[in-house]
């Protein structure tokens, strides 16, 4: 939904994925697809085409009515039994997307919300149980105040507009991160949204706001120290399992993402879910977040389903 980093001056977004001239990989593997060159080149016509499609699909209350659309059927190339249980996404590239179109940054974030909506629906349809999105990093508080205020108000608007749909569709919403830095009105909205959806079990959307992986471990450590101080646990009892139980991802049955997707071509994790990413498969894609669609997601899942996960052992 939101770019988790500030803008950079490196123009990489219009570069098309192509084989390296040195025959070596230029980064984490991204399968080359000629179709992407036609639809996702960032050209004005490509953008107009995508926006028209979005307008056609969105109903007046802002909810996609593509729930029964065959376009959302699980592609034949993917196997349902190999779907990841938990997908994490770093939604990067909103501001760059807006700049490419000569629009203000806010338009990029709004476009990012639409991408997120679509992804939530697709995940529900395709049997993925948990989606965690990196909406706002703890490190993002250094951004200009105007942008922060816009983002906070965007969060509020989205929660208000989507909460009924979440309740109806059986989607549980959880928010992780240091909520003490959020405006009080947003804190209350978040709390109410979590409370009213906590019994839902069809799908879980975890939104990381004011979150950092290091902060998560430190707050777990504080909690453990408190329990040790009160005599609830002994210091010798502190192990990996105890830390896992104290991390903010203890709100889900599947705390470890199977797949992490980062858009906009950046090849790093940026302090997102550090502990939980121990054996997560990474997929980096050049597409900017507002342009990330079913095709990119299918590509990521196809790549995931082909990987051999050994967890340090040996595949027999």
């Amino acid at each position: 939904m939101l770019s988790s980093r500030v803008n950079i001056a490196i123009p990489n977004t219009l570069l098309q994925a192509k084989p390296s001239p040195f025959r070596y990989e230029t980064g984490f593997r991204r399968p080359f697809s000629p179709r992407r060159l036609q639809v996702r080149a960032g050209s004005a016509s490509g953008v107009a085409f995508k926006e028209e499609e979005e307008q056609r699909r969105l109903s007046s209350d802002g909810v996609s009515v593509a729930g029964d659309s065959p376009e959302y059927d699980i592609p034949e190339t993917l196997r349902r039994e190999l779907m990841p249980k938990h997908v994490a996404v770093i939604m990067d590239g909103n501001v760059r997307w807006a700049r490419q179109r000569g629009m203000p940054s806010g338009a990029g974030h709004e476009a990012g919300v639409r991408s997120l909506r679509q992804l939530v629906e697709v995940c529900c349809r395709w049997g993925i149980k948990v989606l965690t999105v990196f909406a706002f990093s703890y490190d993002n508080w250094i951004r200009p105040q105007v942008e922060i205020e816009f983002l906070m108000s965007l969060f509020e608007r989205v929660i208000k507009s989507e909460i009924e749909i979440f309740k109806r569709e059986g989607i549980r919403v959880s928010v992780i991160g240091d909520s003490s830095k959020l405006p009080e009105s947003l804190q209350k909205l978040v709390h109410d949204a979590e409370e009213s959806t906590k019994e839902n079990s069809k799908f879980q959307l975890i939104v990381a706001v004011s979150y950092s992986g290091k902060y998560d471990v430190v707050q777990a450590c504080k909690s453990i120290a408190q329990k040790a101080k009160e005599g609830v646990i002994g210091l010798e009892d502190i192990d990996e399992s105890m830390i896992e139980q104290e991390l903010e991802t203890n709100c889900t049955e599947y705390p470890y993402p199977d797949l992490l997707i980062r858009t906009s071509g950046e090849l790093r994790v940026s302090n997102f879910l550090l502990w939980q990413l121990a054996y997560t498969e990474f997929f980096f894609v050049q597409t900017l977040w507002p342009d990330f669609g079913i095709e990119d997601f299918t590509e990521a899942l196809t790549s995931f389903q082909q990987r051999q996960r050994r967890y340090g052992g040996r595949k027999s």
């Binding site: 230029t26 040790a228 340090g312």
Partner: protein, 314 residues
Amino acid sequence: METQIGCGANQLFKRVGTFLRKCLFRVLSVGEIPNHIAFILDGNRRYARKHNLAVEAGYRAGFVSLLSILKYCSEMGVKHVTIFAFSVDNFKRRPHEVQCVMDLMLEKMEVLLKEENVVKQYGVRICFIGSLKLLSEPIRIAAEKVTKATAKNTRTVIFICMAYSSGNEITHAVQHSCIDKLENHSQARKHAKTHDDVNECVEEHEKEGTTMVKLEDVEKHMCMRVAPDPDIIIRTSGENRLSNFLLWQTDSCVLYAPAALWPEIGLWHLVWAVINFQRYHSYLEKKRKQLILPQEQFFTPTISSDCCKQTLKR
């Protein structure tokens, strides 16, 4: 006679190659050279299978590649190199394979100890990071000897992660942070003379942060605090995951995963990784300075836990 000419030609090619490589590194050094590169040496067994060799041969080929890469890093001016030699999770592998790796490590450490002068000439300091108590005694002893023998070298520092996992490292840091804070808490209570003073003392300590866990407290107990955070992580064989390696330290590190298997890694992979790093460096540096996070707090504590055995000095 022909053999002599062949040898002479080889020597010439080697020297020309070295000269060209140094020119290339000079060009690269116009931009920022990474201070710390970490490697996940993946693909040795697949390499052996690919060439119909025994697993051991794959690891030996991997060792040859390792030496080349270390040489290139040193020539390029990379000050710190970390290699993920063996994970705690790797003990789940077949006993024969585990033994292969252990035997190879012991063999190479013994060679290092014999060739101490060569190592000194390159100015390489070697440190071992991980739960070394999980390793056999001969390997532990050899590791201690290698660390001691290379302690005075200063040009390049190589961290060899053995029996390492980030989960273990972070757990150890959390445990010791809790120990520290509990000790501070009980000191606070001891200093108080009356019952009323106890609460006041504890509150005062909490305000100062001596009894509350903070980020710095966790970081100071990390095994890898003796090195700056990596600038690049390179994992070979095309696998796109960290596998419980340096999770804490790689939050803003560039990740690079060439498809080549580890024994196939070459100079160009390294060069490409550095070029990619240089593209992002100025942005990442600017962001790092904006954040109020202790990025370069490495100092010289005495390491008192099972996680790391040696005391490292700057």
